[in-house]
Amino acid sequence: MSKPHRKAKGPQVLTANRLVDGDVVYWRDETTWVANLSDAKVFEDEDALAKAEADAQAQVKADKILDPYAFGVDLTGGRITPGSMREHIRALGPSVRLDLGKQAEAA
């Protein structure tokens, strides 16, 4: 419901949840979804993103992932930073439990 509406401009990342465990994943290439945002493919080109989105829909049909969508990121400082609090929390884990989620696995 609160998924961001597609922004027309700026770098974007394609994300989804994995069917089997619901884990947050990010698109890297046609065969790979990765767990960490830092390993994700950043799309600066709308056509490439559209192609990846079509491919992701095929993977939904193949029952690997759920609900793929793209969101805006910021690349300042050479790091991929999510453009919203929601994506920030998905990428790291609950802001109130720093011992849980991807932020804990990374530590």
Partner: protein, 552 residues
């Protein structure tokens, strides 16, 4: 409390088998997500931000130590060692894998528990007064009625694909602790002038996008007509409730658009027709059978309050404050109702670790006739403890870090999971609750402020009941930033009232100051003995609003 017989157990077991098959078909690709989603939702399984979340029903909030131990074990085995009690007397697990869920449900079934109909457009877990069977002001224990509704609503063939979700709450006391007027159906047990016990019925209450207080449609419904009348309401709703717009699909919209009088007429007409078949009349022996499970435990005849208890109150100020805030009179002399706050200062409202769950289970077994209650305010209750045991209980709670003395006070905050966990949320709820409770941490100040219910939701769906908070806080998204709208004067008791919006919303880092301003305004304005709500009722929104926006 109720115990499953062979039929109840066989149905819950069959549901586990059914869901195991559905998960297998899903993982094998035999059914699509669109087909699977309603099936998993009917079993309480959501996909949230980080993983699957399962909502387990605690029917009418009553459970025992064996069940609590299993809830603890499930958190260790399949999750990350904790669970979250919700505003609907459920417990949620946040970090599940889809293929573990059938085993988890089998473990639950082994202790007569389930996640059936904790989501989806069906009749949800029936909620009730957490003090049922213990409260001094009760006309009748509401739990037999709740259990009858639980059984009737479980796998109801006609009402499993309703326009929208459907929530029923029952209270047996005039003091409403079950918030019945904000439910799709609210049932209050009443006595008529002939001394017969029956039901007073409210319909069409609810929060969410279009909050409404329930309409009173029946002053006295004879007991044996309960299911016929519920079927009549459900059938009118199922046939006429709006399905064209998800935001207008709840029964409250139908009642509102048709008018309460017309809706009542439709229900009474349908009830007449159903009643003629006598199909739904409740057999007396079944009422008796179920009621027998809720017979009062064997209370001892206790004398006046023992000296050692009074001494402990004198000696230990922390204990005395806990008793003052958390302990409530019991209907039986010498006994008390002990609330366990799941709102430690700076903690996550409603969260509890597996070790704490085990500790509460042991306390229930040792001191409370093996009974525990979950409250819609996200706390727990030991409903039947001896006053003389309170000190020992409190010491053990302290060791478990569960002795926070704040029930009904400013730091006893309801908060939904919000954007930290929830796929629907627009803003975080939990950290706002944490910041407020830290600001008001000092217990003497909390007691001075007195009863004050703060309720926080992270989106318009209002799982945190913000509309009926004395102070309500609603998280909204403003261009990617978290903002919070404040309402005042809401209440969810027998005088249910929706709060008034104060004005423009506040950014995340200004919410606590805003709450402080409201509290200070109340303290300045209150007359002797007045609660926040009473002061608000007397002076209205204006002085609060003035102070709140004066600085801006």
């Amino acid at each position: 409390m109720y115990r499953y017989d062979e039929f109840d157990q066989s149905l819950v077991d069959a549901r586990v088998t059914e869901f195991r098959g559905q998960v297998a078909r899903r993982l094998a690709g035999d059914i699509t997500e669109d087909e699977f989603k309603p099936l998993r939702l009917m079993n309480g399984l959501y996909l949230q931000l980080h993983a699957y979340m399962l909502r387990v029903a605690i029917p009418y909030g009553t459970f025992n130590s064996r069940q609590m131990h299993m809830l603890a074990e499930i958190a260790r085995k399949y999750d990350k060692g904790y669970g979250h009690f919700t505003t609907r007397q459920n417990i949620q697990y946040n970090w599940l894998k889809l293929d573990d869920v059938p085993d988890l449900l089998a473990d639950l079934a082994s202790v007569e528990m389930h996640a059936i109909q904790t989501s989806g457009n069906c009749i949800r877990n029936t909620t009730s007064d957490q003090y049922a069977g213990a409260a001094a002001d009760e006309i009748e224990d509401p739990r037999p009625t709740c259990e009858i509704i639980r059984q009737w609503s479980t796998f109801h063939p006609e009402f499993s694909f309703l326009p929208r979700k459907f929530k029923i709450a029952v209270t047996g006391a005039p003091k409403d602790r079950a918030a019945v007027q904000i439910h799709d159906i609210g049932i209050q047990i009443v006595e008529n002038n002939k001394g017969e016990v029956g039901y007073s019925i409210f319909v069409g209450g609810g929060l969410g996008r279009t909050p409404m207080v329930g309409k009173h449609i029946r002053a006295f419904l004879p007991r044996q007509d309960l299911l016929a009348y519920l079927e009549a309401i459900m059938r009118v709703y199922n046939m006429l409730g709006r399905r064209d717009n998800i935001y207008k699909a709840r029964i409250k919209i139908l009642v509102h658009e048709a008018s309460a009088a017309e809706f009542t007429r439709l229900v009474e007409e349908e009830f007449e027709k159903i009643d003629q078949t006598k199909l739904m009349a409740l057999p007396e022996e079944e009422l008796d059978r179920i009621a027998a499970y809720f017979a009062a435990p064997e209370f001892e005849t206790l004398g006046p309050c023992p000296a050692e208890h009074l001494e402990a109150l004198d000696r230990d100020r922390d204990f005395a404050l806990w008793v003052k805030a958390n302990v409530v009179p019991h209907k039986v002399p010498g006994y008390a109702i002990a609330n366990i706050s799941l709102k430690p200062i700076g903690g996550v409202p409603g969260d509890i670790t597996s070790d704490q769950m085990d500790g509460v289970a042991e306390l229930a077994k040792d001191y409370s006739f093996d009974e525990i209650r979950a409250t819609h305010e996200q706390n727990l209750v030991l409903p039947h403890v001896r006053e003389r045991d309170l000190y020992a209980i409190w010491q053990r709670l302290k060791a478990l870090e569960l002795a926070t003395a704040n029930i009904g006070l400013v730091s006893d905050i309801i908060a939904c999971p919000g954007l930290d966990y929830c796929n629907l949320a627009n803003a975080r709820s939990i950290p706002v609750a944490q910041l407020i409770s830290e600001r008001f941490a000092e217990l003497d100040r909390q007691h001075d402020i007195g009863e004050l219910k703060i309720k926080i939701s992270g989106c318009i769906n209002a799982c945190g009941h913000h509309h009926v908070g004395h102070i309500g806080i609603l998280g909204v998204d403003r261009k990617g930033e978290e903002y919070y709208q404040i309402t005042l004067g809401g209440s969810a008791d027998e005088n249910t009232r929706l709060g008034d919006i104060t004005g423009p919303s506040f950014p995340y880092d200004k919410v606590v100051d805003a709450v402080e301003t409201l509290v200070t305004t109340y303290v300045d304005l209150r007359q002797s003995g007045e609660t926040f709500l009473q002061t608000y009722a007397r002076v209205g929104l204006a002085p609060f609003k003035e102070n709140l926006y004066a600085a801006a």
